[in-house]
């Protein structure tokens, strides 16, 4: 059972290393090097319902009573712990890690391949791809010459920190580089699962509804930037860009918006400038 949410049994999730051709299953928690702390709360008894009748002290009796134990156990604590480990790992290697999220079909992989092809001479980039099945997206990334691993979640609907941690071991990104994590296409669940990234990048295409930001507020609130893609199709769709940006700022006043087309290339320079500035910092 997946220790963070259980929606996919971690044993179904696979990591494919496209450089070596090896495929491995996600190692269960006990076989990895994470320490797993379970602190049993000694002495945290809050209520104790049992009373002795003084006359019966000498009698041996068995009585079942209730004992309350205060736990204060964060249910997503395990994922958050591994995410924090990932965050520290990235920081120690001066790696900028970004979590790309969107609904399926928004153009994440196309934008990623365009970004890699345009920037690979100046910046070191590698990718962790997340999909339920197939290595199709990872193959497209591999064609750019960039290092990539594919995580297949099976029935799972989001990447979690453990998958990313093991993906990073396979990927082995160099120091001073960028790791792009392309999450499973889903505007709901990935918002709950920290991967240890520096920022979430939410991608929305103009072929979707302009009110997506208020329909999926958790995701848009959790993201540092919103990229509006497929701007070349704007003349053919009823998408109100200004209204969309207003909705996004309503949910997240700090969110920065980039409008671009990975096909024609318009607007890409703003996204590239943001990346370059993030790497320097």
């Amino acid at each position: 059972m997946c220790v963070t949410c259980g929606c996919s049994d971690d044993a179904e999730a696979k990591i494919s290393n496209l450089q070596t051709g090896t495929v491995m299953t996600i190692q269960p928690e006990s076989e990895t090097h994470h320490h797993h702390t379970h602190v049993l709360p000694d002495g945290k008894v809050v209520t104790h319902s049992h009373s002795h009748d003084i006359n019966e002290v000498s009698q041996v009796h068995a009585k079942i009573h209730g004992r309350t134990i205060s736990l204060e156990h964060e249910i997503l604590g395990k994922n958050n712990l591994i995410a924090a480990q990932n965050r520290g790992w990235f920081k120690g290697r001066n790696i900028l890690a970004l979590n790309l999220v969107s609904s399926p079909g928004s153009g994440k992989t196309t934008l990623l391949t365009r970004t890699i092809n345009d920037l690979k001479k100046q910046l070191s980039l590698s990718v962790i791809e997340g999909d339920q099945e197939t290595t199709n997206d990872a193959e497209k990334i591999k064609d750019t010459g960039c290092k990539v691993v594919q995580v297949n979640t099976g029935s799972g609907c989001h990447l979690d920190a453990a998958m990313v941690q093991q993906g990073l071991q396979q990927l082995n990104p160099p120091l001073d580089s960028i790791v792009m994590i392309e999450n499973v296409g889903n505007l709901v669940c990935p918002a709950l699962f920290d991967l240890g990234e520096q920022a979430k990048v939410v991608i929305l295409s103009v072929t979707e509804g302009e009110d997506k930001p208020i329909k999926y507020p958790y995701m848009f609130r959790a993201s540092e930037i919103m990229i509006l893609t497929k701007m070349d199709l704007l003349p053919y769709v009823k998408f109100d860009v200004q209204r969309c940006i207003e909705y996004a700022k309503q949910v997240n006043p700090q969110i920065q918006v980039f409008q671009l087309s990975a096909e024609t290339g318009i607007g890409l320079e703003n996204w590239y400038d943001w990346l370059a500035q993030k790497v320097v910092n």
Binding site: H38, S70, H73, I75
Partner: protein
């Protein structure tokens, strides 16, 4: 979303703490802005606890309302959604309550001899 998986996780965590003892009661804290539906957790709990030391246990859920602090004027702003507007007009709100998702306490049978 994920209530079935999260509930399975709750059952596993509580069973580990109970260490073989029968569980009478589980108290959860679920924030109203946590994106987790308490009714779905309750529904799943009955199913997930079958055959475990939690079978028959009472599930109590404390729902924590959303609360934010306005960056502009410092006022506390109650929230039903993860965003909103302060009475001073500012939308710059920091969430300070309502995203909780924790097992607060459990009550187990203890045999006293």
């Amino acid at each position: 979303m994920h209530e079935i998986g999260i509930t399975q996780n709750i059952v596993a965590i509580v069973a580990e703490y109970a260490n073989g003892a029968k569980v009478r009661r589980v108290l959860l804290e679920i924030g109203k802005l946590s994106a987790i539906m308490p009714d779905a957790v309750s529904f799943c709990f009955d199913v997930c606890s079958q055959g475990t030391v939690l079978e028959g246990a009472i599930l109590e859920i404390l729902q924590i309302p959303g609360l934010a602090k306005c960056r502009q004027c410092g006022a506390k702003v109650p929230l039903e959604k993860p965003f909103g507007v302060c009475s001073c007009g500012s939308k710059q709100l920091d969430l300070i309550a309502g995203e909780e998702l924790k097992i607060k306490e459990i009550e187990v049978d203890e045999v006293c001899v």
